[in-house]
């Protein structure tokens, strides 16, 4: 009985230490990202250029071809 309780305690302690370790590692990673502005660098050097290229390449409707009518609202095509 005593032995079982002891092993349960050990298991809980192990679990606690594991969770603590995971949390600690996660915080350490997050803090490194934060402190060295790695989020900013990723967005500036990778994400933004990729998205810009995508937006630049997008086909866009020529709005000047729309008629400028008063009180007439054409059915739109998307």
């Amino acid at each position: 009985m005593k032995k079982g309780g002891c092993s349960l305690g050990k298991m809980l302690l192990k679990l606690f230490l594991k969770l603590f370790g995971i949390c600690f590692a996660a915080i350490a990673v997050l803090f490194t990202i934060f402190f060295f502005d790695l989020d900013g660098k990723l967005l500036f050097y990778v994400v933004e250029p990729f998205l810009k290229k995508h937006y630049d390449d997008m086909e866009r409707k020529d709005v000047l071809k729309d008629l400028y009518d008063v009180d007439k609202y054409p059915k739109r095509e998307f």
Partner: protein, 535 residues
């Protein structure tokens, strides 16, 4: 041999952060990009706060805001379709960094809360646009689309209070244009160029150009059944409304801000126009006007105004005001234009707590203040955080600004007529109208506010493409001399960082502080650095 003094100093700097004169904040920036080699070390307590309660907290809250307002799929679709989302709003935490640089303790906390409210409101609006948007929903006009009204960003959200809960008003330009300039100044340049590419001249206000450019590039969601436009208190913007009418092509009601708003007859006319606008909404949406709702919302907005007056009182009479220049300006203009919403109340509650602590404990929130500055006229959107730089570099503490002071009123709710009369006044005191191009009496309200807020210096914005304010440049010069006021001009082109760069703005201030004031910088590393490519 270990130098004990040096070790002690290093430990002290680690624990408390370096004192103001030793920070050398310019040296933690990467050349050109303005990214951080490393973020600022503010001491253990403040760095921990910044990491947990600002950086982690705000990233987390942004995800939660997206989940609450339409979800991640809607966001992903919008991000893929619209440049102004993807290019602008992902690096939003960098916007926090730029505005909050160098701040410590309660000033850092209170100012960051203001940013949090603006982010939540921004996400709320663009997610509503995407939920309703026929363009990203395969041409489908959904229920939400039929209960949303598109408005010009300078039409006060309070006009739509009578339909609160039944109809959502979303400004067309506030998120795709205005906020983008503060967060990522590159995005807007696409829209300015777009409007010039169809043959329109480049010399009008670039704000009007950018707002039209959104439509020229077909970058405006089709999210509403009808629209309410206005002249944005600037007559170049009338042309924007015409282009919006053409390209958005929806039933439209024009609700202009009159030029001569001191005239009682003009006010009467404005009241009638507001009522006509209400009838237009009833006709378009088939939802009746609700006076009780209007009253309830106005009273809530009045509550926000009363707290703002308390804040001004602390700012004017003590050194305990915990909000820096950029947070004060942006939060206030955002709140007063957008109208009542729960996030403002939540944030005000938190800021009240911080401010009361500062007053009770007599905390000097900006201890390196050399000059108390009032900023007047319209600010550079791409460098709204210039005042953060100015405090860190020169000890210039921008206590208050023109945009904060515009809507200096509560609205009566005892009768319908009183409410309407006050709403007309509020509507007419629009951004860029009351104290910018609103007539001599109002632009010169500067002098009384300077006295009221105990300021000894003026930062005078010089929007080079605003024909209205360019016309009064000389009058201000004369008055500054006559009244013996220390004032520097801050040239800019509202959203367009190509016309006057941030470095040129800093140089103008550096020149004034050295040649006129004969002062030494608090942080010389901030005098000259290249951030030409920064967001």
């Amino acid at each position: 041999m270990i130098d004990r003094k040096k070790v002690k100093k290093a430990l002290r700097d680690f624990w408390y952060g370096k004192p103001h004169g030793e920070r050398r904040l310019g040296e933690i920036l990467e050349d050109k990009t303005g990214l951080y080699k490393h973020r600022e070390w503010r001491g253990v307590k403040d760095t921990s706060y910044y990491f947990w309660n600002i950086w982690c907290y705000n990233y987390f809250q942004m995800v939660m805001d997206i989940m609450k307002n339409g979800g991640p799929i809607v966001f992903a679709k919008g991000l893929w379709r619209y440049r102004w989302v993807g290019q602008t709003y992902l690096p939003v935490l960098h916007w926090f960094d730029r505005g909050l640089q160098g701040l410590r303790g309660e000033a850092m906390k209170a100012s960051a809360w203001h940013y949090r409210a603006m982010v939540a409101t921004t996400i709320r609006q663009f997610q509503r646009m995407f939920v309703c948007d026929a363009k990203i929903n395969g041409g489908k006009i959904n229920e939400q689309h039929e209960h949303t009204i598109a408005i010009n960003e300078t039409v006060w959200g309070g006009i739509f209070y009578p339909w609160d809960g039944k109809l959502v008003s979303v400004p067309m330009e506030m998120i795709p244009y205005f906020v983008t300039c503060h967060v990522n100044s590159h995005t807007v340049l696409n829209y300015i160029d777009a409007v010039q590419s169809i043959g329109l001249p480049g010399d009008p206000c670039p704000m009007c150009q950018a707002e039209s450019g959104l439509f020229v590039l077909d970058d405006m969601p089709d999210y509403a059944k009808a629209m309410v436009t206005c002249n944005e208190a600037c007559d170049a913007s009338v042309a924007t409304s015409i282009l919006q009418d053409w390209f958005f092509d929806k039933p439209l009601f024009a609700l202009p801000m009159p030029m001569q708003f001191d005239d009682p007859l003009v006010k009467e006319n404005c009241m009638k126009e507001i009522e006509q606008c209400w009838r237009f909404i009833e006709q378009q949406y088939g939802i009746p006007f609700n006076w009780e709702k209007l009253k309830e919302k106005i009273e809530q907005q009045n509550e926000l105004q009363r707290f703002e007056w308390e804040k001004w009182d602390v700012a004017a009479h003590t050194n305990n005001y915990p909000i820096n220049g950029v947070a004060q300006a942006l939060y206030r203009i955002y709140q007063t234009q957008y109208g009542d919403w729960e996030i403002w109340h939540q944030v005000d509650k938190k800021v009240r707590k911080i401010m009361e602590k500062c007053v009770q404990k007599n905390i000097n929130t900006f201890p390196q203040t050399r000059h108390r500055v009032i900023a007047w006229s319209c600010a550079p959107l791409y460098y709204s955080n210039w005042c953060t730089w100015a405090y860190n570099c020169w000890g210039l503490n921008v206590v208050i600004n023109m945009d904060s002071l515009m809507f200096d009123m509560t609205i009566r709710t005892d009768t319908y007529d009183h409410a309407l009369e006050d709403m007309a006044t509020y509507h007419m005191w629009a951004p860029m109208r009351r104290m910018a191009v609103g007539g001599m009496n109002h632009i010169f309200e500067l002098w009384e506010n300077m006295e009221k807020f105990n300021c000894d210096m003026v930062a005078m914005y010089d929007q080079l493409q605003c024909k209205g304010m360019q016309g009064v440049h000389g009058l201000f010069e004369d008055e500054f001399r006559r009244r013996n006021i220390n004032a520097f001009w801050l040239p800019h082109a509202l959203p367009d960082c190509r016309t006057v760069s941030r470095a040129e703005i800093r140089n103008a201030i550096n020149d004034y502080m050295t040649t006129v004031m004969h002062e030494e910088p608090l942080d010389p590393s901030l005098l000259d650095f290249d951030d030409s490519m920064t967001w």
